[in-house]
């Protein structure tokens, strides 16, 4: 078996490919580093010169607006040069292989590749190929991982709850197809959250999900009881009617977050969502815009966390 490709010979973060396999102290280092960056966004001059002269290539093989934009903002606030490549509509359609695309961009002197790809594991392939001074950050690969989203979720939870060690966290919905859920589960268990729950119908939970260290609930009301944090997952449109689910309406009835279901959680529970939300499918508007929702702060924290990750890998 290969060594953990994310860490360099000194055990420092070389690439960020997955939260799984990262030691606790690296997760804490990233969250701690993000704190001053979060403060920076309040200031009038929002830039620091940490990545001046470096090039960040946003390499998106799959469409994305939000994640790409927040990476771009994060890189610019660190004073890096940002190049956005929408590979989905250029080289791939011309038949160029993934590794040829990367080799070409590498010849243009990249320092950091931010990669999104529809296939699980694609960033690992790229990380094996790049030069020693180049870093790969996974911005979402297939169903596998979305580590910066997981980290911003952790940051948000720590911001509101201070400590991980007494929490009950519920993740609700389409866990089967969710890279967000996988990354968050690994992060929560690494940081010592004693109870992580997943809630959903059997058709949307992957085989042997318990092996990730979670408790499985099929009934949402039972699963939400006494939770400190409720994380709702996005349900893709193409999965709403078919063999996995009969309809969005029935899903909402059983697994949509409404005010009365949320009342079963702790009174100070926070509600999170990685976006983009389907109002009326996985979450009711009154909850999404209600006092428990921290969905918009998540986006703001996301920029700080991505700044932290980029500055740490570039420094190693």
């Amino acid at each position: 078996m290969q060594n953990n490709p994310q860490l360099n010979a000194n055990g420092e973060l070389q690439h960020l490919l997955s939260i799984e396999g990262l030691p606790r102290q690296i997760l804490v280092q990233i969250l701690d580093t993000a704190v001053p960056f979060a403060g920076l966004t309040e200031r009038e001059v929002k830039k620091v010169p940490l990545l001046r002269g470096k090039s960040v290539f946003n390499l998106f093989f799959e469409a994305s607006t939000r994640t790409r934009t927040t990476f771009e903002i994060a890189a610019k606030r660190l004073s890096a040069d940002v190049i956005n490549l929408n590979v989905a509509v250029s080289s791939q359609s011309k038949g160029e292989s993934l590794l040829d695309t990367v080799a070409n961009l590498s010849a243009m002197q990249a320092d950091i590749f931010v990669v999104r790809h529809g296939s699980s594991g694609a960033p690992y392939l790229i990380a094996r190929q790049v030069k020693p001074h180049e870093h790969v950050i996974n911005a979402g690969d297939g169903r596998h991982a979305h580590p910066t989203q997981g980290l911003l979720d952790l940051y948000t939870i720590r911001h509101y709850k201070k400590d991980f060690t007494g929490l009950t966290v519920a993740i609700v919905g389409d866990v089967l197809h969710s890279r967000v859920a996988r990354s968050l589960i690994h992060g929560l268990t690494t940081l010592g959250v004693p109870e992580v729950r997943v809630i959903g119908p059997q058709t949307l939970l992957p085989a042997g999900v318990e092996s990730l260290g979670v408790r499985v609930f099929h009934d949402m009301r039972t699963g939400l009881k006494d939770c400190d944090v409720v994380v709702m997952l996005r349900l893709q449109h193409e999965r709403m009617n078919g063999a996995l689910l009969p309809s969005a309406q029935e899903f909402f009835k059983h697994y949509g977050l409404t005010a009365d279901k949320l009342a079963l959680a702790k009174p100070d529970a926070i509600v999170m969502h990685p976006g983009p939300m389907n109002r009326g499918v996985e979450i009711d508007s009154s909850v999404a815009d209600g006092p428990h929702s921290v969905i918009l702060p998540q986006v703001t924290f996301g920029i700080a966390v991505r700044m932290a990750v980029m500055s740490i890998v570039a420094g190693n």
């Binding site: 078996m1 290969q2 953990n4 490709p5 799984e20 292989s97 993934l98 590794l99 790809h117 296939s119 699980s120 594991g121 694609a122 690992y124 392939l125 690969d141 297939g142 169903r143 596998h144 991982a145 890279r179 996988r182 992957p206 085989a207 042997g208 999900v209 092996s211 990730l212």
Partner: protein
């Protein structure tokens, strides 16, 4: 032409013989002895002298996929691996569904004069699973059995009729059992590792549900079925019960599945993308045990040369398969050593048992048998690097591993076709 192989440890699984002795070969056959002076004498001191290996599944990639491998490169690989007979599945391009194609393949192989090639004919036209091929014609052209290779045959009406038709003529049918709908889009065993890696899964019951269908059809048609590439513990159990019941079934396992499990996917190692997928440790253990107790009749290389570009891809997009002809012997020896089996029993799974399934008279060393032999050093260890492989396919999860057992000489029909440099 008279050949004497002197002083080797003769291991003949068919007769159970394992002793130091000489082997006499005359006119392409093993003989008791001869009085004349041999034209050639091979000193086999310190080597095992065994029947040439018989591999029930090796893709030669001709016709159609010559950029992945050619008949020449793969026949070289076969004899370098001690394989003297091999069955090739029909999933070429075009598939082996017409007598002309089969005839051409056999003739090309004959000209190369290395291993013996036994084509498996397509069970359905273009392997599309709709219309039966002209099996009798194909058999006349040299097909020894009929198969869908890895192509699905979802229509059970067609499957039923195909088995009935084959049974009419007594043709064996070789089937890999996998429910097409349950396996749809899957690339890895539906378990812990696929869940962690976010890879679409193929549940174990995709294999066993289809196997249940096949066994039921064997029961009603009486067709002789060889089940290819078992991958799950429950399938091993089902075959054990079917044999006990007296059904005319046999089966094999890919040698990779005897040694590797889903854990070996590591960080998305595309060399571990195989069909069927590598399954759980428990399944792997049941396969290794089933091969030892004879529930599984044979081990095969399931040799599939894939060019490196098709493996340098994200796991799910990579082309499945592993090179295997040159690894079959060391990997079977490794399995035998792990199970503490006598060499004569270990080698049976790739010689006499395989000959029985294939219905050929080779795979044994008694007088009168075709002189197909392998001489190997069971102790010699070697490190697997791409340059060591003669096959055009360098795709193997075992790159960098130490292997024990090195082929020195391979003989087909009394002719030396490979000699280690």
């Amino acid at each position: 032409m008279k050949l004497l192989i002197k002083g080797g440890r003769v291991v003949d699984p068919a007769s159970g013989r394992d002793q130091l002795s000489d082997i006499f070969i005359s006119d392409g056959r093993v003989v008791e002895a001869f009085r004349e002076k041999p034209e050639t004498t091979i000193d086999a001191t310190g080597l095992v002298v065994a029947p040439g290996l018989i591999d029930l599944s090796a893709r030669l990639r001709e016709p159609g996929y010559e950029y992945k491998a050619t008949l020449e490169s793969e026949m070289d690989a076969a004899v370098a691996g001690g394989v003297t007979s091999l069955a090739c599945p029909p999933d070429t391009d075009p598939p082996l569904d017409e007598p002309g194609l089969v005839d051409m393949l056999r003739r090309r192989a004959k000209v190369l004069a290395r291993a013996r090639v036994y084509p498996i004919g397509a069970l359905t036209v273009k392997l599309a699973g709709e219309r039966l091929t002209e099996m009798a014609e194909l058999a006349e052209a040299g097909c020894v059995a009929f198969s869908q290779a890895n192509a699905p045959l979802p229509d059970t009406q067609v499957l039923w009729r195909a088995l009935q038709y084959a049974a009419t003529f007594g043709f064996p049918v070789w089937l890999r059992t996998e429910d097409r709908w349950l396996a749809h889009c899957g690339v890895a065993h539906d378990g812990e590792v696929a869940t962690r890696l976010g890879l679409p899964g193929i549940p174990a019951f995709a294999e066993t549900i289809a196997l249940g269908t096949v066994l039921q059809l064997v029961r009603t048609t009486g067709s002789r079925v060889h089940v290819c590439r078992l991958s799950t513990a429950i399938a091993v159990e089902m075959i054990r019960a079917a044999k006990k019941e007296g059904l005319p079934v046999s089966c094999d396992v890919g040698i990779h599945h005897v040694h590797l499990s889903e854990m070996d996917l590591g960080y998305f190692d595309a060399h571990c993308r195989l069909e069927p997928p590598l399954r759980s440790q428990r399944d792997r253990e049941a396969l290794a045990a089933g091969l030892a107790d004879g529930t599984i009749d044979c081990a095969v290389s399931d040799h599939t040369p894939v060019d490196e570009d098709q493996k340098q891809m994200p796991f799910a997009e990579a082309e499945p398969g592993a090179t295997g002809l040159e690894l079959l012997l060391p990997l079977v020896l490794k399995w035998g050593a792990e199970r503490k089996l006598p060499l004569v029993k270990t080698l049976a799974r790739i010689t006499s048992d395989a000959a029985r399934i294939l219905g050929v008279s080779s795979g044994r060393l008694e007088a009168g048998a075709p002189a197909d032999l392998v001489l190997f050093d069971p102790e010699q260890s070697w490190r697997l690097t791409p340059e060591m492989l003669r096959s055009q396919g360098k795709n193997t999860p075992f790159l960098g591993y130490e292997m024990a057992g090195r082929v020195r000489t391979t003989i087909v029909a009394g002719n030396v076709v490979y000699q280690q440099a």
